[in-house]
Amino acid sequence: MFRTSCRIAWASLARRASRSVLVVVMISMSLWGLLFMEGIYDGMTEQMIGNAIRSDSGQLSLFAAGFREDPGLHRLISRDGDITELLANDPRVKSHVSRLRQEGLAATAHYSRNVMIYGIDLAAEKSHGRLDGYLIEGEYGFGAKNKGVLVGARLAEKLKVKIGRKLIVSAQNSAHEVAAVALTISGIVRTNNMALDESAVFIAMDKARELFATPEGVSQISVIVQAEKDIPAVQQSLRQHFGTLQILRWDELYPALMQGRVMMKGFNLIMSVLIFGVAGLGIFGVMLVSVLERLREFGIMLAIGTSFAQVRGIIFTESFILGFTGFVAGSLSGGATLLYFYQQGLDLTIFSHGLEEFGMDVITHAVIRAQYFITAFIAVMLATFVSVLFPLHLLKKANPVEAINRV
């Protein structure tokens, strides 16, 4: 019986081919647009968040008490050994890095600028936040004698320096003396985390310890967990063990980015409802007309003993075929488009100034989530289902005999 319903449904759709095709095209176009939008917009948001997490905050960051309000070498995490041991043994933690930082000055023969000096472990940063991926020039290394320095892109521009040039970095050390070191620029990084691009110089941790005269302690420990859902739990357990420290999530350090994500979610939801609402209206029109046109046909079917449930099945099947075909076509085209932008990225170099203002990457890589397709599927199914309810209601009200006698 089901097969008969399907065949009847298919036949009636085929009879009005151009109409059916239009509906399918409409559904697939709306789906394509929606997927494209969601993927690109989420890509933008996630990229911004990712940049902040990778280059700075991690998903969790630990600081000594009072460090954020009054940063300096007098507020270091002294039990960093215990913390890193705990983190290393926590299966929920994917990676963690320690950094040492101090304000200072970078100078060339021509220019000098205030900078933030970061003592880092290159290998750890690479596996932690893929810092190497931000390198736009030079190489990711400090050379054999740790005399190299990685410089933020905007800072490099302002100092007018190139790879291989000498940079004198000076800072007040823990003994309140001004210490300086001659370094060679080995690489330039662009993280699109504006604060870093504008003022960061990264030097080897050992070099920083020497320069700052701080044999132990770190300024910040940045943590990335295996799964995002574990963040609160890891934060909680760290707080239990090291209650005196400031232990903050990325969204506490970058509240604006979290708001951006929430806004984007809300926006995507509104767009989905709007688009599927309109698309549902399209399906509704087609189904309504196709039921009304065939009142006579259905009347005959009912008169010869077909049950109403079967007629309803036919109508649902018709609607489902339209919706499902549209969904498949839309998912394929939308998915392919997203895949393209996932791999190639959307290049907005011409707007680089504006994007920098937002702290965004010039090339946006789309995000592809199974959830997009699931939501879309449910939405399409819902739209196809709801849009036949009224036509069915009309059909039920209509007297079959009357229907047969109609012209």
Binding site: R16, S18, R19, L22, V23, V25, M26, M29, S30, G33, L34, F36, M37, Y41, P255, A256, Q259, G260, M263, M271, L274, I275, V278, A279, L281, G282, G285, V286, V289, E293, L348, F351, H353, G354, L355, E356, E357, F358
Partner: protein, 406 residues
């Protein structure tokens, strides 16, 4: 004749007409409103960041923007003032002198900006006076009284009435230092600005900093801020090559481009909605016209030419389109107008705005009749073109075929 038939047909196929009109009107309203919102919020964002302090139009010595040193000051402030007075299109203008000093309270020393302003004129230019939090705003007669950013005050641990000292460099490179009394504390909401900026009256500043007749820049408030660029060009021409007059579009180029990017994405979003609407309108037109294939066949059989049928059907869709677009325009326009008067408030998103240097949460929409008309025209063209395919398709039937069409 066609008109009559078209109108009759529209009413005869009431349901189709209503759905089409509702759809198109809603879409038009959406477009009109979305555009009004986008333009309005962008204008507001720019306005707020421009008006907090930077101003719509800055006049500097030619090299100052590239190399802001004491060598590149405006040394003839009086002359610039005289040139700007009575200049058409200027609502108010004021001189400023920005200087970097070291503030010192009890035993805290903090670096910050000490800027000389003309307090009364400044009220017509920036939001400094409106950002007052405690105490009171400055007057020109204030001597050694400072209007301090809230964060700076917090860092120096001073309140209204307290003393603090500053040390800096005068315009002639001499040492400048004095004790100041905090007259007022302001809070713009921009952390960076509030933690660095402080203001004193220019007559006082000129005396201690040896800056008589000097200024780092002039700020001009145009009568029509949207024409700042034209005004800047005119002022630039008047002042000659020793000066540079730059509108906010130039001084805040990054922000302008950021807004443009946002608009582009806004329009992409709208375009996607339009594609869907386009198809829905096309489907509905197709449905209705197919229901009328027989009728059209008969018309053709009795001698109506295909051109006449085409004209009749097109007229129908034009009329429907017009009604929808007008309706939508009125709805969208009224919404835009309403929210222009009663701005939409985004509480809870202050942080996000602040990160972009914007201290505001209320977003008025932009009510611009010309833009609304443009959007209506776009929707009208879209709605009529959506009906072209069904109309042409049905017109291709041969009369006999059409009459027998089921």
């Amino acid at each position: 004749m066609f008109f009559k038939i078209a109108v009759r047909n529209i009413f005869a196929y009431g349901k189709r007409s209503i759905i089409t009109v509702v759809l198109l009107a809603c879409t038009t309203a959406l477009l009109v409103f979305a555009t009004a919102y986008m333009d309005g919020s962008h204008a507001r964002l720019i306005q707020s960041s421009v008006e907090i302090y930077p101003g719509y139009l800055q006049i500097t010595q030619r090299d100052f923007r590239d190399n802001p040193s004491l060598e590149n000051l405006i040394f003839e402030a009086g002359q610039v003032s005289a040139s700007l007075r009575d200049f058409p299109g200027i609502a108010v203008f004021a001189a400023r002198f920005e200087s970097y000093v070291l503030f010192s309270s009890a035993d805290k020393a903090v670096g910050g900006m000490l800027t000389a302003i003309e307090p009364e004129k400044e009220m017509g230019i920036s939001r400094l006076a409106a950002s007052l939090k405690q105490g009171s705003y400055l007057t020109s007669a204030d001597d050694a009284r400072v209007y301090l950013g809230s964060e700076l005050a917090r860092r120096l641990k001073v309140g209204v009435g307290d003393q603090l000292a500053f040390v800096g460099t005068g315009a002639d490179y001499s040492f400048a230092a004095d004790n100041l009394t905090v007259k007022g504390i302001f809070q713009t909401g921009l952390f960076d600005f509030d933690s660095r900026a402080s203001f004193v009256a220019k007559p006082y500043f000129d005396r201690v900093m040896a800056a008589q007749n000097y200024a780092t820049h002039f700020i001009v408030q145009p009568v029509r801020p949207e024409e700042a660029e034209t005004l800047a060009a005119a002022i630039g021409a008047r002042l000659g090559p020793d000066y540079e007059a730059a509108a906010w579009q130039q001084t805040m180029a990054g922000l302008v481009q950021a807004m443009r990017v946002d608009s582009i994405f806004g329009y992409i979003t709208l375009a996607i909605i339009f594609i869907v609407i386009f198809f829905v309108v096309m489907i509905y037109t197709l449905l209705v016209i197919y229901a009328r294939v027989r009728e059209i066949g008969i018309l053709r059989a009795v001698g109506t030419t295909p051109g006449q049928v085409l004209a009749m059907l097109l007229l129908e869709s034009v009329l429907l389109g017009l009604v929808s677009v007008l309706l939508g325009g009125v709805i969208g326009g009224s919404l835009a107008y309403y929210f222009h008067i009663h701005p939409i408030v985004f509480s809870g998103f202050e942080e996000q705005f602040k990160q972009y240097g914007l201290a505001l949460t209320a977003m008025p929409t932009d009510f611009a009749p010309l833009v609304i008309m443009r959007d209506m025209a776009i929707m009208f063209v879209l709605s009529v073109s959506a009906t072209l395919y069904p109309i042409c398709k049905v017109n291709n039937f041969r009369p006999i075929e059409a009459i027998h069409h089921v």
